[in-house]
């Protein structure tokens, strides 16, 4: 199984989520994060105190999927989160040892 983490632009969340649903992903965990990257931030000025805010609001998705779905998921996220402009984000894929559904105690692919 794979644990896929994707950082995307916030307003793309709904689109990505729907796209993932369509290919059969049943669960996603979403976190609001701040991203530092190539995309530049902005400057704020408060009565002469200037702050360079170089992070940008991003949304992080975490999706655990079966080995066979993993590639499809990466593709789907890439497609649905794309705007083509800087700051579109990244997808990270890691190995997932084990999963367990708390409610039923199921493990493995069944638990996803």
């Amino acid at each position: 199984m794979k644990f896929i983490t994707a950082v995307i632009k916030p307003f793309k969340l709904d689109e990505v989520r729907e796209a993932l649903s369509e290919i059969g992903v049943q669960g996603i965990t979403v976190t609001e994060v701040k991203g530092f990257g190539r995309q530049k931030g902005h400057t704020e000025l408060y009565r002469g105190a200037e702050y360079v805010i170089d992070f940008l609001p991003k949304v992080k998705l975490e999706v655990a999927v079966s080995e066979k779905l993993a590639k499809k998921v990466v593709e789907t996220i890439t497609k649905s989160a794309l705007t083509g402009k800087i700051g579109d984000g990244k997808i990270f894929v890691m190995d997932l040892d084990q999963v367990q559904r708390i409610r039923t105690g199921e493990t493995g692919d069944d638990a996803l």
């Binding site: 709904d14 000025l45 805010i53």
Partner: protein, 463 residues
């Protein structure tokens, strides 16, 4: 754009119908200024030509003055922070400061313009007195510390009226929130004050055309609410919808702020309505109870609709209902009785609910914060509804001699129609001019990022 025209045309048509309809009952006295009814004169007009009243030298009454100072402050609180919060809570957090700023600066700019030429054009006599006043009191020339208006210092009257002129343009902000350019907005609203607010204000309260028809608009149904509602609609249609409208979640970012705003509007509205009596007298008492119960009934009206339609009454519904009830009672507050006020508030709120849900959806415009749906629609209901509810059998004060329910209704309909057309047409022309010259809609990128950082270089919340 084509869509825009057709929408505006529709509104115009409706207004013409209203006027036309009114002709039936009023024969050919439409622009006949000799008509001496001037019901409004009781409330405002005598202030202007203070000279005429020399026979009975006006003296200052400290009680009336105390009340009018406060009434003025209450209207200020309606605008800042009241209206700003009511609106600000409803937008997304990335646009919060832009809305607060639009209201705050509009309110400030209009205050200064009022002193420079606004008061003069609205409340003095001018060569085209049917339409607009003169420039004799520009820079408040001629007003002195000793001038008295009725029983209060003229400066107090000037400041009280200033707050109306500063609040009304700020109301329009709700129509174009989350997508307008700040400089363009200031230019538009400056022109709008000059060509829409001041003339209508003069025509209704300054001894001009509409007052001569015998129209009743005690505290500003046409001048303030219909005017603002129609202008907001024109801009909402002209600017087009917000990016992602109807697709993305645009839920209010901070409903408690909206609730605070609605509550302060409610409380401040007593300054608006009762203050329009310009005295702390018996009529003030009637206006007061009417204002309170119309607002309360408005709350109940809106949440009743929600409860029936979806099973859940909402806080935003309660707040919207209160404002709808208050808008509706505004023109009517001195002529209906408390039970009439309850009926008017309840009904107007239900109709406004319908306008903000069904009507808006079917027409498809994006009036961000429902200025038209609430101020425009409830304003119209109030302005024409008062003609019926002022009947003694409904607990109202009754009609002037020679006036019937039908004739009053016609006059009201005509003044509403006239205001809609005047405001609609001029607002549209101004929109076009400012859009082409200064520019009114922000770039797509800025709209995505939010106006707070892109227009004002700030963020509403940090940790």
């Amino acid at each position: 754009m084509k869509k825009l025209f057709s929408k505006l045309g529709m509104v115009g048509l409706l207004s013409f119908l209203l006027i036309g309809f009114s002709q039936v009952g009023m024969s050919n006295e439409v622009f006949d200024l000799s008509n001496g009814t001037m019901l409004l004169a009781d409330n405002h007009a005598e202030i202007v030509p203070a000279v005429e009243a020399v026979e009975q030298a006006p003296t200052l009454d400290t009680g009336d003055t105390a009340w009018m100072i406060i009434a003025t402050i209450l209207v200020i609180v309606m605008a800042i922070p009241g209206l700003a919060l009511f609106y600000g809570g409803l937008v997304r957090s990335k646009n919060m400061l832009s809305v607060l700023m639009q209201v705050f600066v509009t309110f400030s700019l209009m205050s200064v313009l009022w002193v420079i030429y606004g008061y003069s054009l609205a409340f003095t006599e001018g060569p085209y007195n049917n339409w607009i006043g003169g420039l004799g009191a520009a820079f408040l020339g001629g007003v002195s510390g000793d001038s008295i208006s009725g029983t209060i210092p003229e400066y107090v009257f000037v400041t009280f009226q200033l707050t109306f002129a500063a609040l009304t343009p700020a109301l329009i902000v709700g129509g174009f929130a989350e997508r307008i350019k700040f400089p363009g907005m200031l230019v538009f609203l400056t022109l709008w004050l000059t060509t829409v607010y001041l003339p209508i204000c003069h025509m209704v309260w300054g001894g001009g055309l509409i007052s001569s028809w015998g129209a009743i608009d005690f505290a500003g149904g046409t001048v303030v609410h219909i005017n603002a509602g129609v202008a907001a609609l024109v801009l909402a249609i002209g600017l087009g919808k917000r990016l992602g409208y109807g697709k993305e979640v645009m839920a209010p970012h901070n409903m408690p702020m909206t609730m605070i705003g609605a509550s302060l509007l409610w409380a401040g509205w007593f300054g608006f309505n009762v203050g329009s009596e310009l005295a702390a007298d018996s009529t003030a008492g009637l206006v007061m109870i009417n204002t309170q119960v119309a607002a309360a009934a408005g709350v109940l009206g809106w949440i009743t609709m929600e409860w029936m339609a979806r099973g859940k009454p909402s806080m935003l519904g309660g707040a919207s209902g209160a404002i709808s009830g208050l808008v509706a009672i505004t023109p009517a507050c001195a002529v209906v009785g408390p039970m009439g006020a309850i009926a008017l508030g309840f009904l107007a709120s239900m109709i406004a609910y319908w306008a903000c849900t069904s009507l808006k959806k079917s027409l498809g415009y994006d009036d961000s914060l429902d200025v038209f749906g609430i101020h425009g629609v409830a304003g119209i209901v109030g302005a024409v509804g008062l003609a019926i509810l002022m009947a003694p059998k409904f607990g109202g004060v009754g009609y002037d001699e020679g006036v019937t329910m039908m004739s009053q209704f016609m006059v009201q309909a005509k003044s509403v129609g006239f205001t809609i057309i005047w405001c609609g047409v001029i607002s549209f022309i101004l929109f076009k001019i400012v859009d082409v010259t200064v520019g009114l809609r922000v770039s797509e990128e800025d709209e995505r990022a939010g106006l707070d950082t892109t227009s004002h270089g700030e963020t509403a919340y940090h940790s």
